[in-house]
């Protein structure tokens, strides 16, 4: 009985190996001779094509409509707290974090206090970002008008 079991085990192992080996060799060559939709092998790490698709989900920042317009926010701001304890905007846009987060740095024009004194960081009167910078949206003008965006507004 014992010998029978051993033989069975050995047979099963041999069978499993012979079945699995071809699979392993197929997995290594992942294209299988087929063209992929992005024109690159499936294993390619270059994601330039897919990155472009992904960027379209949240659009690029809109241009300004007049030169002094505070730039619009190009992302949702739901549940982003701006309180005395914590300013979520500055979690990415402060000079300390902006580069790490690949975010726009807060302008140094925001470092001047009400008396015209230059500070090394955000002035208290500029603390509430969303008072001036609002999330962008595709809202159309309610009343037709002839206003032209100046060439300088970018």
């Amino acid at each position: 009985m014992k010998i029978h079991l051993l033989t069975a085990a050995a047979l099963a192992t041999a069978l499993a190996t012979s079945l699995l080996l071809p699979c392993a060799s197929v997995a290594a060559d992942d294209s299988g001779g087929l063209a992929t939709l992005r024109g690159k092998p499936l294993s390619a790490t270059d994601t330039a094509t897919t990155d472009a698709l992904r960027k379209a989900i949240e659009t690029d920042p809109f241009d300004r409509d007049f030169t002094q317009q505070p730039p619009l926010v190009s992302h949702a701001v739901d549940e982003y707290p701006v309180t005395r304890a914590f300013n979520k905007c500055m979690d990415c846009h402060s000079w300390e974090n902006a580069r790490k987060e690949k975010a726009t740095k807060v302008s140094s024009t925001h470092f001047k206090d009400a008396d015209g004194k230059e500070l090394s960081t955000l002035a208290a009167r500029r603390y509430f970002c969303l008072q001036c910078h609002v999330p962008q949206t595709g809202a159309k003008p309610l009343i037709a008008n002839t206003y032209q965006r100046p060439a300088t507004a970018r």
């Binding site: 990155d51 989900i57 000079w95 300390e96 500070l119």
Partner: protein, 212 residues
């Protein structure tokens, strides 16, 4: 001599069999009581029976997506703050004895006292979630089930970076259901009790290696 009592051996057998039945029934009853108590202490009503929870934490949580959202799925207090696994749950329940003690002491029974303690309390919970790899987040939000194509492109990038750097949910997602304590953001907050930025945003190899 007439004896109505059964012989000692039979008496003993009856005693044992009765004992087994009683122990069995008592076991079922005690298990039921144990589980009902555990479940009851995990309900929102139980948490909110202390005014500290009801007046501060609960009000803040009511403004967040874990309380109200378009599909009405809710995560109540215990979903985030009590582990689902048996032993971690028991450990958390034991530690809650300390919270009962501080309730009796009145450690956070005014908004001012709570504000003063918030940084300490928040960091304790951040540490707990960091230690168990944000298990309570992952009970619902499993990274392996992320559909990256349905996320915003910033979220895609950040999630990919964080996951490959071995970061856990709580490393970034702090203060999502309650207000944050003061954070030393380097933008003029001079509060000495503020949480240091390196605690709030723990550095990873990926963020340190980012081009300066």
């Amino acid at each position: 001599m007439t004896n109505n009592h059964p012989p000692p051996a039979r008496q003993w057998r009856r005693f044992v069999s009765r004992g087994i039945v009683i122990a069995f029934v008592a076991g079922i009853a005690l298990t039921a009581i144990f589980n009902i108590t555990l479940a009851w202490t995990n309900t929102e009503d139980f948490c909110l029976s202390c005014h500290e929870m009801k007046d501060y934490n609960y009000r803040e949580y009511q403004n967040t997506t874990h309380y109200t959202n378009r599909s009405g799925v809710r995560a109540v207090c215990s979903d985030c703050h009590v582990p689902k696994e048996f032993l971690p749950k028991m450990w958390r329940k034991l530690r809650a004895a300390n919270e009962v003690w501080h309730k009796l002491l009145g450690s956070i029974d005014t908004p001012e006292k709570f504000a003063e303690k918030r940084a300490k309390l928040a960091q304790s919970e951040w540490r707990r979630m960091k230690a168990n790899d944000s298990q309570e987040c992952r009970n619902c939000h499993e990274a392996a089930s992320f559909d990256f194509s349905a996320q915003g492109y910033r979220a895609i990038q950040r999630h990919e970076e964080a996951l490959s750097a071995g970061q856990t949910c709580i490393d970034c997602h702090k203060g999502i259901a309650h207000q944050l304590p003061p954070i030393a953001q380097g933008i003029g907050n001079t509060d000495p009790a503020a949480v240091p930025l390196e605690v709030f945003r723990p550095a990873t190899e990926a963020t340190e290696a980012a081009p300066e």
